[in-house]
């Protein structure tokens, strides 16, 4: 069985300054790490590998520094690593990224059975690349998968959608995006890390080797432009309600009952009406 895991390097800190001209994050200011959900996807692949004799190719698009994350993936147990690295591809949105990943997968591992992606990234959190890649490759797909079972050529997945769990089945080749519910990533052994640097290679591809020219990237590439990036400001302030207890409760409800959750709100509302009577 051939597995492909698409992973992304994200900044280690959650709040980063951004370039005001382009609206993109200044990723160079923080050191990178493997996106947590991608790490769960890799762990899921490693568990499949252990039970089904699979090989794993990890693939990422990113700057040269992303190589170190690929080494980590190799240390965890991936067999091959591919870095797509080209300044022509810098600033790609999710649409362009999925196009590039499609070309790389078609070129490097056309006979894959399953592609695994993290359900979302810690930096931009769009959760789009996985589903878009499935669309590009015309694959059956399920997002936010928390459990997988493989029988022959059939993949059964369980996923959490809103407030219910659903179980889906699909035939290989397929794509899943893996959530962080299960598949807690294993620790990397020190020997694994040493081997990943000493004895394994990372293949580097550029846009040209994928048949992508600057004009085709411009034509087919990013469809979205970041117009504005801003920090959501949370206003904190203490409000002190004073007076007799019943007055305070009524004043509290007047001010805040709409902000209290529906169920609680209803029961308090009923209680209030009852008290008023």
């Amino acid at each position: 069985m051939k597995l492909v895991v698409c992973i992304k390097q994200v900044p280690k800190v959650t709040e980063l300054p951004w370039d005001e001209k382009t609206g993109t994050l200044r990723r160079d200011l923080a050191s990178g790490m493997m996106n947590p959900a991608c790490k769960h996807a890799l762990e899921a692949a490693l568990q499949i590998k252990e039970n089904h004799n699979a090989s794993i190719t990890v693939i990422t698009m990113g700057p040269p520094a992303a190589e170190e994350m690929l080494r980590e993936a190799l240390a965890m147990g991936a067999d091959e690593a591919i870095l797509i690295c080209d300044w022509l591809l810098a600033g790609s949105d999710t649409f362009a990224t999925s196009l590039v990943l499609k070309e790389a997968i078609k070129k490097q591992c056309p006979k894959f059975d399953l592609i695994l992606c993290g359900a979302y990234t810690a930096d931009s959190e769009t959760a789009q690349v996985g589903p878009q890649l499935a669309e590009e490759l015309d694959l059956p797909a399920a997002a936010y998968v928390e459990k997988m079972e493989i029988t022959g050529k059939t993949l059964r997945v369980r996923r959490l959608v809103d407030n219910f769990r659903e179980t889906l089945e699909m035939e290989f080749p397929a794509l899943v995006t893996v959530s962080m519910e299960n598949y807690k990533p294993r620790y990397t052994s020190l020997a694994g890390l040493e081997n990943a640097f000493d004895q394994k290679d990372v293949s580097v591809l550029d846009a040209k080797s994928l048949g992508l020219s600057s004009s085709s990237i411009e034509q087919k590439g990013s469809r979205t432009r970041v117009r504005k990036v801003f920090l959501r400001k949370a206003q904190k302030g203490n409000v002190v309600l004073q007076g007799a207890a019943s007055n305070v409760v009524h004043e509290f409800l007047d001010r805040y009952q709409r902000k209290i959750g529906t169920v609680i709100g209803k029961s308090i509302e009923e209680k209030k009406q009852h008290d008023d009577k």
Partner: protein, 383 residues
């Protein structure tokens, strides 16, 4: 010479940090308070190669370079110095002399057990009357038929309470003018190998430091490490290496205390502003960061000399002297920045403060390090 961290070193640091913060941080204060050795954590560490840091791959080790090994000890000690101590003693002064001096059969028999952590190792030189003066060891080993019979008492043995194997320094005779010492590989299950009570120490309390009593303890003659009479040679080489480990440990403790102090200084409000905005506190933080960084460069220099096959004893002593001094100073400042809370067991800096002191004492006191450094300098022919 490595000045900046390479991707491999960065990744090793990140991986060990993640392990330490997830597995050790939640228990570090408790195992210190209760002075218990966390066996369950050791079991989690075994498959990750923490007990075979620099051992060759064919014996199940991780074959790390010395900077990587130092980073591992740093990162463990940054969170829990007692576990950092267990790992650095096992690797630095038990496994290392095995790799360097053991014969082929000894390696085949013991290295896989040591590198997998099935056996935890200890190094037993210190005695009641032999501390810095390691030549005055009184434990004896007398040959009887095909074995040696050991008698004596070793004290302050790190990992002593849990070790499965100990390297015991013992007198085996007299050379003209001085006693002849040798090193014996002694398994804890050997008859006549007894452990004393665990020491009630100031810091690193989760490490089971104990005395070892050898009472007619019989060891097969093939368990001599190196040759009879190699004691001083093995001891000095091992201590040079062990000092790199203690420097790494001291640096990790300093780093942990420093980070806690910076975090606290940004959070703690006095005079209606964070104390980090006060110049005195800023000076403390600047000094801490500068000295930790200087210590790290000194440590990695000793490591890279060792990996290059050059003599590194003097640099290891410099690193050990400097990093342990920095650890004591930085942990003291970290307590100071925390004020009254820093003196409370509620905050980790109190533990770091207690843990740091011994790094100036064991594996050669600061006074001995100065002696080693000065002796090296003064024995050089020219500058």
């Amino acid at each position: 010479m490595l000045i900046n961290p390479c991707p491999k070193h960065k990744l090793i640091r990140d991986s060990v940090r993640s392990f330490a913060e997830t597995e050790l941080a939640p228990i570090a204060a408790e195992i210190d308070r209760k002075a218990v050795f966390p066996r369950e954590i050791i079991e989690k560490m075994r498959p990750l190669n923490f007990f075979g840091l620099q051992a060759p791959r064919e014996f199940g080790g991780a074959a790390l370079d010395s900077v990587s090994a130092a980073i591992v000890v740093e990162e463990l000690s940054r969170v829990c110095a007692a576990i950092g101590l267990c790992v650095t003693v096992h690797n630095g002064v038990a496994l290392y002399p095995f790799m360097k001096f053991a014969g082929k059969d000894q390696k085949n028999e013991y290295l896989p057990k040591l590198t997998s952590g099935e056996f935890i190792g200890a190094f037993s030189l210190t005695e009641a009357n032999a501390g810095s003066d390691s030549a005055s060891v009184e434990t004896t080993a007398v040959k009887r038929n095909n074995e040696y019979v050991l008698n004596g008492t070793k004290i302050f043995v790190t990992n002593g309470g849990v070790c499965d194997i100990a390297l015991i320094f013992a007198l085996t005779g007299f050379e003209p003018g001085k006693p002849q010492s040798s090193v014996f590989i002694v398994e804890s299950k050997s008859p006549g190998f007894l452990r004393g009570e665990l020491e009630d120490l100031c810091g690193m309390r989760a490490n089971p430091v104990s005395s070892l009593f050898l009472e007619d303890c019989c060891v097969p003659e093939q368990n001599v490490l190196g040759n009879i009479g190699d004691g001083m040679k093995i001891g000095l080489a091992t201590l040079d290496n062990g000092r790199i480990g203690v420097a790494a440990q001291a640096l990790g403790i300093a780093q942990g205390a420093y980070e806690a102090a910076v975090k606290y200084a940004k959070e703690r409000q006095q005079f209606k502003k964070p104390i980090a905005s006060l110049q005195t506190i800023q000076n403390y933080i600047a000094d801490m960061a500068t000295e930790i960084t200087a210590g790290r460069l000194l440590l990695y220099r000793a490591c890279s000399l060792k990996d290059g096959g050059a003599p590194f004893g003097c640099e290891a002593s410099m690193a050990k002297l400097y990093c342990s001094t920095v650890a004591s100073k930085v942990t003291s400042l970290a307590v100071q920045i925390h004020g009254g809370y820093g003196y409370s067991k509620e905050y980790d800096v109190e533990r770091y403060f207690r843990d740091a002191k011994v790094t100036e004492i064991y594996e050669g006191t600061s006074e001995i390090q100065r002696m080693v450094i000065a002796r090296t300098i003064l024995s050089q022919l020219t500058f």
